[in-house]
């Protein structure tokens, strides 16, 4: 269906952390594509490698201990893995921008909001101080901050969480990036603010036509924002597909369980929630075979022996689960 060239394509990315206690495979063979004007959502449990795979794109992984050991990150066909630090600096904040999860800590507390917005403008677009200021105020207005001239001079501590997150977004949008990586941009916010922010991001996407890589663990947010979804578990994508596939035709037992175990506002009261027993395995000590095997209702012998391969249910919908491997052999 998609013959367009993706803006970003990640192929078999492996980012490992070499810690004192052993190797943590932060993301272990992840592949996905992001197209212009589209949103790809990464969902999954805490520690499943969502952030690591995204941060690898801009080489923002703390190193040491982190290291990209394998794979390609193709941005418009160029492999970013081979870029030098100098080349990366040109990409960061300019072509690809990031919004981080914590609005409280991702702004520098001792610099004014205005200064922080002006920085990428002056750096990448080489604007003069006055021009940059004009543009920064414009950006503040764009992200819906009332009385932007006043806020321009304020420090982060003088703003509420929602406002700070808007500033972060303004920074990210400053240079009209082609790709926006949003790492749980609303997790720390209240629902009413979250709704505002999500709306804002969508508006921006419409206006600027950028691609978004949205990381979240809230399926509600996924449903509202994403075109495609990648579900991660223990450093691997266990299921991938268009948003409808994921919500209405999910295949992987983990995803199915996850959906069932969430209480829903719009449903009648059920006595007991569905439970995925057990817990996420220790990243230092991952089991062989399917990482979900220990918690899976349908676990089979083979699951504990071999890593499942991707099984396709359509052009863009696949799951890594042995439950389906037979029926799809032919493909």
């Amino acid at each position: 269906m998609d013959n367009r060239q993706p803006i970003l394509e990640i192929k078999d990315l492996k980012t490992y952390f070499y810690t004192d206690d052993g190797v943590v495979k932060g993301c272990d063979g992840v592949s996905y594509k992001v197209y212009e004007g589209e949103t790809l959502a990464l969902v999954g449990e805490s520690g499943s490698g969502k952030s690591v795979s995204a941060m690898s794109i801009l080489q923002l992984i703390p190193s040491p201990p982190g290291k990209i050991v394998e794979g390609e990150i193709l941005y418009n066909g160029d492999n970013l893995v081979n870029y030098s630090e100098k080349q990366m600096e040109k990409i960061r904040g300019n072509d690809i921008a990031v919004i981080f999860q914590e609005p409280m800590t991702s702004l520098n507390p001792v610099l004014t909001a205005g200064y922080q917005i002006m920085e990428p403008l002056r750096l990448h677009q080489k604007l003069s101080k006055n021009k940059a200021k004009e543009r920064a105020v414009e950006l503040l207005k764009l992200v819906g901050i009332p009385s932007p001239e006043k806020r321009f001079k304020e420090y982060p501590y003088q703003m509420s969480g929602g406002m700070r997150q808007r500033v972060v977004i303004a920074i990210a949008l400053a240079c009209n990036p082609k790709l926006l990586i949003a790492d749980e941009p609303t997790t720390a916010l209240d629902v009413t603010i979250q709704a505002q922010i999500i709306n804002l991001v969508e508006e921006m996407q419409e206006k600027l036509g950028m691609a978004i890589l949205m990381i979240t663990h809230d399926l509600g947010v996924v449903a509202e924002t994403a075109n495609k979804v990648a579900v991660m578990y223990c450093g691997k994508i266990v299921e991938y597909g268009r948003v409808d596939d994921i919500f209405y035709d999910s295949k992987h037992p983990y995803l199915q369980g996850l959906k069932k175990s969430m209480p829903r506002l719009d449903s009648e009261k059920v006595e007991e929630l569905y439970v995925i027993e057990g817990m996420v395995p220790n990243p230092l000590n991952l089991p062989v075979g399917c990482k979900f095997a220990d918690r899976c209702e349908y676990v089979m012998e083979i699951c504990r022996k071999k890593e499942p391969e991707a099984v396709y249910f359509g052009k863009e919908h696949y799951a890594r689960c042995f439950l389906y491997s037979d029926s799809n052999e032919s493909e």
Partner: protein, 311 residues
């Protein structure tokens, strides 16, 4: 802000007088008296009584202390030994101490902040390792020993620097005299500041906003200087504020070794001579410097850390 400073200054007065009271009481508890020391071994009883009467040393302790305070405020407190106004005597020596102290502090900051930053940025490199070991060594040597060794090397062997003494204000040609005492005094502060800068910088480097800065495409240098340093300055400044006491304590030793005409040496001599008014004055001044520098540090915060405002 002005309000805040006023209030702090009020506190300062309380602190100073409590500090001087502590010293005064301990001194009063000590055996021995001022007159004997003043008149020397050959003094007669009558002479001692006369001296005691003259300086009011025969009055009850609380009266003596109150008199001392009132005299201090009216500017009439006189040193028994120097027979001169205590405030004047101390103020005369204050520049030497302050210049030396601040010279040492500035020297320490100039050396240790860059070294600390480089160490943090190049963590676990040979530079880091060497810098940190040297810094640790620096706080492991007694100040007075460093002093005499420096003297032997730079004055006797190399003959390039004056060994001791104060050659006038640092800006009026006395600079050469500042080098040896300044260096030996700054050692302690240098060591602790280097180490602190490193750890503060490491802390800052791991903060989210540093990642944000990197994600903007800023160069490493710019990230460290613009985004890192100002944040790291907060603990560094605190440390310097806390170390002021150490610096001035250390100055007592340094001043003795380098024949430096400072308040520390004056105070020690005054204690040895039981010159109570002078001890009183010196303690008030030294404690005052300590408190004021700390106040200054607090005010400095307001400039570094926008979250702090003293309204």
């Amino acid at each position: 802000m002005v309000n805040y400073i006023m209030r702090r200054l009020l506190m300062l007065v309380v602190i100073l007088f409590s500090a001087s009271l502590i010293i005064f009481l301990i001194m009063k508890a000590a055996p021995g008296d001022t007159a004997t020391v003043l008149l020397g071994e050959n003094a007669t009883k009558q002479a001692i009584a006369e001296v005691n009467a003259k300086y009011g040393l025969d009055k009850p302790i609380h009266i003596q202390y109150i008199k001392m305070i009132t005299n201090f405020f009216t500017g009439e407190l006189k040193s028994i030994y120097y027979k001169d106004n205590v405030i004047k005597i101390v103020i005369q020596r204050l520049p030497a101490t302050l210049e030396l102290g601040f010279f040492a502090i500035i020297l320490a900051v100039l050396v240790s902040v860059p070294v600390g930053i480089i160490s943090a940025v190049k963590r676990n490199s040979i530079f880091d390792y060497l810098a940190m070991s040297t810094a640790l060594l620096g706080i492991s040597i007694p100040v007075f020993f460093t002093g005499i060794i420096l003297m032997y090397i730079f004055s006797v062997k190399l003959g390039i620097l004056p060994a001791s003494g104060y050659g006038g204000h640092i800006w009026t040609g006395g600079f050469k005299n500042f080098i040896l005492p300044g260096v030996s005094l700054s050692f302690v502060l240098m060591s602790s500041t280097t180490r602190l800068t490193r750890s503060a910088m490491l802390d800052v480097i791991n903060q989210d906003y540093m990642r944000t800065a990197k994600a903007k495409g800023l160069t490493k240098m710019k990230i460290i200087i613009v985004h890192g340093l100002k944040n790291a300055m907060i603990p560094i400044v605190t440390n310097i504020g806390n170390q002021v006491a150490t610096i001035f304590s250390g100055a007592v030793l340094t001043e003795t070794v380098f024949s430096w005409p400072g308040v520390g040496r004056l105070a020690i001599d005054a204690v040895f001579r039981r010159d109570e008014p002078l001890v009183f004055g010196a303690v008030i001044m030294l404690a005052g410097v300590y408190v004021i520098v700390n106040l200054f540090v607090d005010i400095l915060y307001a400039f570094i850390d926008p979250q702090i405002s003293y309204e």
